[in-house]
Amino acid sequence: MPRRIQVLPDTLANQIAAGEVVERPASVVKELVENALDAAATRVEVVIRNGGKTEIRVSDDGYGMGREDALLALDRHATSKISSEDDLRAVRTFGFRGEALPSIGSVSRLTLETAESGGVGNRVRVSGGRIMGAEDCARQPGTTVLVRSLFFNVPARAKFLKSAAVETRAIADVMTSLALANLSAAFRLESNGRTLMELPATRDLPSRAADLWGDEFAGALIPVDHRVDGIEIAGLVDRPDAAVSGPRRVHLFIAGRPFRDRSLVAAAERGYRTTVPRGAKPSLLLYLDVPDGRVDVNVHPAKAEVRFGDPAGVEAAIEAAIHSALSGVDSAATLDRRPPPPQIRTPARESGSDRGPGTGRPGRPAAEARRTPEGQLAFFVAAAPDREPAEDGTVPDAAEQAGIEADNRYSLWQVHDSYIIAETRSGMLIIDQHSAHERILFEALMRDFDAGGRPSQRLLFPVTLRLSPGEYAVVEQTQSLLAMAGFEAEPFGGRTVIIHAAPNPHPWFDAERCLREMVAELAEGSELTRAARTQYERLAMTFACKAAIKAGQRLSVEERQRLFDELFATELPYHDVHGRPTIVRLSLDELERRFGRHG
């Protein structure tokens, strides 16, 4: 009887593995560039033809390999990156399965040229998984992998490849992602003789973002920097007023490795809530680090997804990180045509003297993490100088962080009875009094909800409201919530409601009109009420919107100051509850430009 079960020959096993790892030219580029970065390359060049279907060449100036290593590298599960199970849990390099090179080699005609520093060059040729030859060659230290005729021996796979343009775009996306994770390496992408990407090595994320997408995009990004419970989050995200226009970019990294996670993107969007209109899609470049052992990156062969030990904790951290980024003056809308790039502080780096295999080199966040206690994020740490404690050690309050000098704090101008202008160190702030008061009232009511409600002013002359059936139903349903918000509204039958007590947020407050408008909006629904997450939030948003001081209300000097102080005591002073700005900045630089003084 012939044996039915047999061990697969290696070439076939590699072809099957290739099905998981090598899906398309972009996955080849990803694996090879990651290998180059793991070999501590400072410059990685990718040259493709016909969307990578005809040819992919990835060259680096990394460590390179000797002859034996070069041959071994083409063997499955051969890797320099891990050697034990413990290493797997604390993995800090891009690749570690030892699958990539043999997998690629099994579905293409592959030439590997590599040389170690001071060593001789080696060339190994592989075709369809068979080593066709190995010889000496002349070359600089580093490695070049040339992949030709991808999937020549897997016609089914070749048939599923998309057009050259689509594959090229996929390769550019992969390169973008890797470039964002590896700032200190230079990248170049060439397609059919045309340069698509030329990124010099840099020290900070804003410059890389500017090189990738232009100064305008980079100028609308604000820094994120947050640590909680061992989770570190840093990066750049869209300023809320910029989140509504332009294409969206989302790049998430964990320990320097790109990954996808819809629920984290959703968490970041939750962090934006109330600061952007509903449905706005902000760009996110976020770098996470979690303590070793609290993330499993070995879930997906292409490592596109990771599994967190405590996903809810990570989501909460992301939301908080965004929220805190949006509380700073950087997040305020600006009139500047060319806002300065976000301020990023780069800590002093160690010298490269201890570079060697396994530790990577300074400048590569993933490798850096092994040595510095702050972790990779120290590299991206964003701290505008305004946020740092003053020289005398006092912690500045929000207004000081916004650049308002103590002396100017109380010279606030009101224009058109609608806007308040304040001078700052670097320009001026224009505050919309209605939006500002909305933010104040919203946060105050949310706090009062947390505290179980707020006291309400009883009225000498109760107010009677006649409502539509829908509005009457809203009052009946939300009666207890309204009471917590300060409205003691008693349904009286016949669609009539009697208000016995009302909030008293400012001297021009019209309780009757406020409640009438609130109830109408709650009954009909609106963008605002749909944006709310809870009943409480919905009511607080509607109340804030209807009760806030209106545009056109003259404010005394004291009233302006109070509004100003209360605004800067809120969590998100720069954003109202509709996703509109409360404050627009205008810098002195911009003014000078407009008056032709410079630039």
Binding site: P455, L460, G486, W508
Partner: protein
């Protein structure tokens, strides 16, 4: 028009009328002051269409006439004049002022463009003392509403009766009422709702010793004494039935030292919420415990001694409303009366000094 006036008289007239001239207006002539020279001197007038003020100052008039000139500029000019009589002449719409060796010409506007003053017939006027008027205004007008949806509450109710007159003001949260005996000579029985801005002008322009003549037309009220006159539009009623909401059966009574209570409330107000200004008052025996609790900020407690009769009571108020009312109480001790935590409280002076003064404050609902 031609007249000579001392610098002081010019300044005095301009200062008195200037306050009634609006700073921003859609009708350019309203930012002007009307100057009329006649046999009795020079009359200066200003108006914002709701309120008009006229004042007469002595001057040597050589040729009667009238013109309107920008009030602000003339006022600034008068302040800077050298100490010498000013001589004013007009040529057409040109206003010329010579003082010492300085000459100023301002472009004016003809008198016809200036709004005519309301017709109030002083033939059927009644009289009220400047002192009484001032006291009533001071003690009540602070309580008017600033919210504009109910214009009636933006005015002070002035009720004239046979034996007494009364002013009442409220914003729906607190109310002030002062009733003063009056012989009612000639006074009609009437409910007049007067804008507080006009009352402020009355308070400012008439002296306590003045016997002010008051007269009304359908929609206006006029006050006059010699050459000084204030006219105002009346707010159309009816005023809400305030008597109905003033409690008659408040049976928990506290007598407190006004100064002690005021000082304690001011301290509490520092820690009170920016939004509600809530302070909690707990009366037990002879103790009044004041406290505030503000989430995220902190709390404060103080006990003061009061003379309290009634069951123990826990009640909340907007500290600002209490402080305001206490400020206008004319006696050293005040009487506070309560019924229940959700019912109106009253504050009265302990000594009745010419008239009955009562303030009412609606409590803040306390959370359980």
């Amino acid at each position: 028009m031609r007249f000579t006036i001392t610098r002081e008289n010019l300044q005095q007239g301009l200062a008195a009328v200037g306050a009634s001239i609006p700073t921003r207006t859609t009708l350019p002539v309203l930012s002007n002051i009307l100057i009329e020279a006649g046999e009795d001197g020079v009359q200066m007038s200003g108006t914002d269409l709701d309120i008009a003020v006229t004042l007469r100052v002595p001057a040597e008039v050589e040729e009667p006439g009238a013109i309107t000139v920008p009030a602000k500029k003339l006022q600034e000019l008068a302040r800077e004049l050298p100490e010498a009589p000013a001589r004013v002449t007009t040529t057409g719409e040109r206003f010329e002022l010579t003082c010492g060796k300085a000459t100023f010409r301002l472009n004016g506007m003809p008198r016809d463009e200036f709004p005519t003053f309301p017709e109030v017939d002083f033939a059927s006027s009644w009289r009220v003392s400047g002192e009484l008027m001032g006291r009533m205004i001071e003690r009540t007008s602070f309580a008017v509403s600033t919210e504009e949806s109910r214009p009636i509450l933006n005015g002070v109710l002035w009720q004239l009766g046979d034996r007494e007159m009364r002013m009442v003001a409220t914003n729906g949260h607190r109310l002030a009422k002062l009733t003063i005996p009056s012989d009612g000579a000639n006074a009609p029985n009437a409910d007049l709702i007067v804008p507080p801005k006009a009352l402020a002008q009355v308070q400012r322009l008439f002296d306590p010793e003045d016997e002010i003549e008051v007269a009304r037309s359908e929609n206006h009220l006029g006050f006059r004494k010699d050459g000084t006159r204030v006219y105002t539009r009346l707010i159309e009623g009816p005023y809400p039935n305030y008597e109905q909401v003033i409690p008659k059966d408040n049976d928990r009574i506290a007598i407190a030292d006004k100064e002690t209570l005021t000082r304690s409330l001011r301290r509490m107000a520092v820690v009170a919420s920016d939004q509600t200004h809530r302070v909690r008052l707990a009366f037990v025996g002879t103790a009044l415990r004041l406290s505030v609790e503000t989430p995220d900020l902190g709390d404060a407690h103080e006990e003061i001694e009061v003379d309290y009769q009634g069951d123990a009571l826990d009640i909340g108020f907007n500290a600002n409303y209490l402080l305001e009312v206490l400020r206008y109480m004319p006696s050293d001790e005040v009487k506070l009366s309560f019924k229940a935590p959700e019912r109106a409280a009253t504050v009265e002076p302990t000594e009745a000094s010419e008239g009955a003064y009562l303030c009412l404050i609606m409590p803040l609902r306390l959370l359980e």
